[in-house]
């Protein structure tokens, strides 16, 4: 069965550190890729998405993600994190027409 793996359960960084959160999926076909974020006390919201074209996708708040098809990966990056980036981050992959799967999430804590 298709699955989505997020390697880090909890990441703790200091402000201005660089961030990379891993996401891998198990499927060789066409996929649509997403990163969602849930700030404390708020709804899940979309950070960025990849459907086709340039594999380096830029999202809101300075986040970007790179789709590497050969590695089945869609890692999320930010060059310099802020305290306000403290949140839970979910990678999601849409396999085929209806099958949307989320990873277990990575909790990011940014220390001021």
């Amino acid at each position: 069965a298709q699955s989505v793996s997020q390697h880090n359960h909890h990441v703790i960084l200091s402000e201005a550190a660089s961030l990379e959160l891993g996401c891998n999926y198990s499927y060789g076909g066409t996929v649509n890729l997403f990163w969602y974020v849930q700030y404390p006390g708020q709804h899940l919201q979309l950070l960025l998405k990849y459907f086709s074209g340039d594999p380096l996708v830029k999202g809101i708040k300075g986040f970007e993600a790179e789709f590497i098809k050969s590695k089945f990966s869609f890692n999320l990056r930010k060059p310099s994190v802020q305290w306000s980036d403290t949140a839970e981050y979910f990678c999601a992959v849409k396999f085929g027409r209806n099958d949307m799967r989320f990873g277990a999430g990575t909790r990011l804590t940014v220390k001021p």
Binding site: H43, L46, N98, A104
Partner: protein, 119 residues
């Protein structure tokens, strides 16, 4: 309203009772999803509605779970004979699917969730 709304926000019930959770999607959105988020777990897909098509129920964990979507808008998730392992946050999301030459947009907009506690 402008976003996806869910009710109730919190529900505490006794084991064995039935519960109904409601989702109001964004007006005009044809796709509606239900997910379950258990403590420390990711989002678990439950069911998907798209327009008038038959729903994709492949994620429902047991026959105690069912969902319907009336008039292509509001959806109700029903859990019969609740068990303690059903305790979780149940999230609803909607998306606007534009099918033009096969293109579609699948950005999902999430509601605040219903926190279900089964005692």
């Amino acid at each position: 309203g402008a976003g996806v709304s869910q009710s109730p926000s919190n529900k505490v019930t006794e084991k064995g009772k039935d519960v109904e959770l409601r989702c109001d999607p964004i007006s005009g959105h044809t796709a509606l999803y239900w997910y379950r988020q258990s403590l420390g777990q990711g989002l678990e897909f439950l069911i998907y509605f798209q327009g008038n098509s038959a729903p994709d129920k492949s994620g429902l964990p047991s026959d105690r779970f069912s969902a319907e979507r009336t008039g292509g808008s509001v959806s109700t998730l029903t859990i019969q004979r609740t068990q303690q392992e059903d305790s979780a946050v149940y999230l609803c999301a909607s998306s606007l699917r534009l099918t033009t030459s096969g293109a579609s947009t699948d950005t999902q907009y999430f509601g605040p969730g219903t926190r279900l506690t089964v005692l």
